[in-house]
Amino acid sequence: MGVGAAEGLAVTGISKSLGGTEVVRELSLTVPRGQLVCLLGPSGCGKTTTLRMIAGFLRPDIGRISIDGADVTDLPPEDRPTAMVFQNYALWPHMTVFKNVAFGLRLRKVAKREVNDRVMAVLKLVNLERARDRHPTQLSGGEQQRVALARAIVLEPKLLLLDEPLSNLDAKLRVVVREEIRDIQQRLGIAMVFVTHDQDEALSIADRVAVMSGGRIEQFADPETLYARPETLFVAGFVGSMNLFVGRLGADGVVVGESEVLVPCGRGCFAGLPGVDGSWEIAVRPEDVIVEHAWEAGPATSAAVLKHVAHGHFREVLLSIGGGGVEVRAYVSPGFDLSGPLMVRFGRVLLYREGVLLHEFNGAREAVAAGSRKPDGGGAGGAG
C-alpha cells in the first residue's frame, strides 16, 4: 500500500485561493480504499475547502484529483463517484425520508423494486426503517444525520466525504454516532474522508489523520504516531496536551524560561548532538514530566504546586519550577502526596528548530531521529 496505488483517492499538489487569500497550498493526500482518513485542524486551516474540492464544488487552481486511477479534476459533482454528508445534513424537507434516500437511485433510472430494496436495506443499516414515511423536520438531529449517511451510502460511492457531521450533535451522541460511522465504514470497506476540528473524534476513529494548518498538511500519520512523534511544533501543541518552551540545551538537561531554569533530563543526554548550541523549541508531554519527592529524587529541579485537578484515574498538576516563573503541567497518580518539597525532571523531550522536529531524547537512551517531513506521510514517522 503505497503512494502509487491506483485505488482510492489521490490528491496531488492542489492549491486554492479564495477572495485573494491562499486557503489551500500545494496539498497532496492519498486515501487507499477501505481507509478512514481525517482532516483535522482549527477553523480556517483549509480542511473544508479541501473536502469541497474533492467533492467537486470547488475547482483547484492547480493540481489534480483522481479516484481509483481516473482523473476527476474537471468533473462536476454530479459526475464524480463521491457522496457527501453535509454539516447540516441538507435533507430535502419537502420529501419523505424514503424519497430523500431514493432520489439518487431514481436519477439513475434504477427499477422501482430495486430502489425499494436498496433504500430499505440501507435504512435498516442505520436503524431507521420505521421512519421511511416521515419528513426530515419530524426527526431528531441524530436521526437526520443517519438519513444523510444513508442517502450517501445507498449509491455505493467509491469515496465517502463527511463535513463535520457530528458538530451539531450533543456530546454523548457524538461519541455513539462516531462509533457507528466507523463501524459502517469498516463493514462496507469504503474509503472515507472526514473533516473535523475535534481531535478526540479524529484520533479515536481514523486510520490516519492529516493535521492541517494554514492550508498545508503539517503531518499525515496514524493517531499513535501523531501523538508520540509530532513532526512539527504545531502538531505537538495541537494534538493532546503539551508543555512548550523556548530555551537552549545544557550539559545534562534543558534550560528554559527567562529565568533560565535548568531541568535535568539525564546524564550527558545531549552530548555529541549536532547543532546543540542556539535556541531550541522544546516540547514535553505532561506524562513525561517526572515528579518526585525531594528526599528520593536524583538530579532534578525544585517545583512548587500551583494548581491541581483530579481526573479520576490520574491527577493533573500545574507546577512552578526552579523558583522562577516557568510553569509545567504534569500528571501524577491520584494517591501521590503533593505536600512537601517536590522535584521535577524531564524523562522525554522533543526538540524542534523553526517548528520542525529534529531530535527526540527518551530516558537513558538517546534516540536521534532526523525528522524528514514528506507531505503524504512518507518518511520516518509515516505509517506508509
Partner: protein
C-alpha cells in the same frame, strides 16, 4: 359564587378602540355600501338598507356587450401578462439570488423604480414611444404597459424565495447525481414555490387592476374593467357601477385570502435581502 367585575377601561384603550372603529368604517364602509348597492332592487334614501333585494343588475351588466367584453378582456390580459412576466422575470430572479451579478443591488432598485414614480407621468412618456413604434391601440401594447407594473413583484419576491432555499440542499442534489436543471426542478422550485405563488398572484392582481396605462394605450380598441369604470359611473345607473366594483374586487379578495398564509410566512421575510 364568583362575581363578575367589569374592568375599568383606560383612556388609552378607549381612544384606540375609537381609532380602530373609525378605520373600520372608513375602509369597509364604502365596500359594504357598494355590495349593498350591487344587490339592491329598490333603494331610496333615507332607508339604511335597500327596500328590495335583487340580482337583476348582475344579469343586466352581463347583457351589455361592452361591459361583458371588458370583463373577459381583463382576465385575458391578466393571464397573458402574468405568464409573460414569469417567463421574463423568474430566470432573472434566480440569477439575482444565486449568481454574483455585478451591480445586482443597482439593478434591483432600478426595477423598483417603475413603481416609485407617479405612474401617469411615466405612462405618457411611454405613450409617445408607443406612437412611434405603432403600438398604440394594440394588444401587445397593452400587455407591455401592464407588464411594467408586475415586474417588481416578479423579480423581488422570487429572488427572496430562491435565496431562501439553502445552497446546501442544491449541492446535495448535485452530489447524488442531479444536473443543474434537474436540481432546479426537483429541489429549488418546489421549495421556492410558495413565494413564487405569491408573486404570481400579486402580478395577476396588478395587471387586473391596471387602469391608467391601459386607458392611454388600449382605448378605444381594448377596454378592460378598470378603464370601463371611468365611464361607467356617468353612463350607467349606480347599481351597474356597484356590480362592476364588486366584480373587480372579488378576484383580489379571493386570491389574497388564498395566499395570505404564505405572505405572512417567516421564510419569505427572512429571504428578503438586497
Amino acid at each position: 359564587m364568583p362575581r363578575y367585575r367589569a374592568r375599568r377601561l383606560s383612556v388609552v384603550q378607549v381612544v384606540t378602540g375609537l381609532g380602530v372603529g373609525l378605520l373600520f368604517v372608513f375602509i369597509f364602509g364604502p365596500l359594504i355600501w357598494l355590495t349593498l348597492w350591487a344587490f339592491a332592487g329598490v333603494w331610496h334614501y333615507p332607508a339604511l338598507l335597500p327596500q328590495q333585494w335583487s340580482v337583476s343588475w348582475w344579469e343586466r351588466v352581463f347583457s351589455y356587450p361592452q361591459l361583458a367584453r371588458s370583463v373577459g378582456l381583463s382576465f385575458i390580459f391578466a393571464s397573458v401578462v402574468t405568464a409573460l412576466s414569469a417567463v421574463v422575470c423568474l430566470p432573472a430572479a434566480y440569477a439575482f439570488a444565486r449568481f454574483d451579478v455585478p451591480g445586482r443591488r443597482g439593478l434591483m432598485i432600478m426595477l423598483f423604480s417603475a413603481n416609485a414614480f407617479p405612474k401617469i407621468g411615466l405612462y405618457i412618456t411611454i405613450a409617445t414611444l408607443f406612437y412611434a413604434l405603432h403600438l398604440m391601440g394594440t394588444f401587445f401594447g397593452v400587455v407591455l404597459i401592464q407588464l411594467l407594473g408586475t415586474i417588481v413583484f416578479m423579480t423581488w419576491i422570487p429572488t427572496a424565495a430562491f435565496a431562501a432555499v439553502p445552497r446546501a440542499l442544491e449541492e446535495a442534489a448535485r452530489d447524488v447525481g442531479a444536473g443543474r436543471l434537474r436540481t432546479f426542478f426537483s429541489v429549488t422550485l418546489p421549495l421556492a414555490a410558495p413565494g413564487i405563488l405569491v408573486a404570481i398572484v400579486l402580478a395577476f392582481l396588478a395587471s387586473l387592476d391596471e387602469a391608467q396605462g391601459t386607458f392611454l394605450v388600449g382605448v378605444p380598441n381594448y377596454v378592460t374593467m378598470p378603464v370601463q369604470m371611468y365611464s361607467l359611473v356617468s353612463d350607467y345607473p349606480p347599481e351597474a357601477a356597484a356590480v362592476f366594483s364588486v366584480l373587480l374586487a372579488i378576484p383580489s379578495v379571493v386570491l389574497l385570502l388564498l395566499v395570505r398564509r404564505h405572505i405572512m410566512g417567516g421564510a419569505l421575510a427572512r429571504g428578503f435581502q438586497i
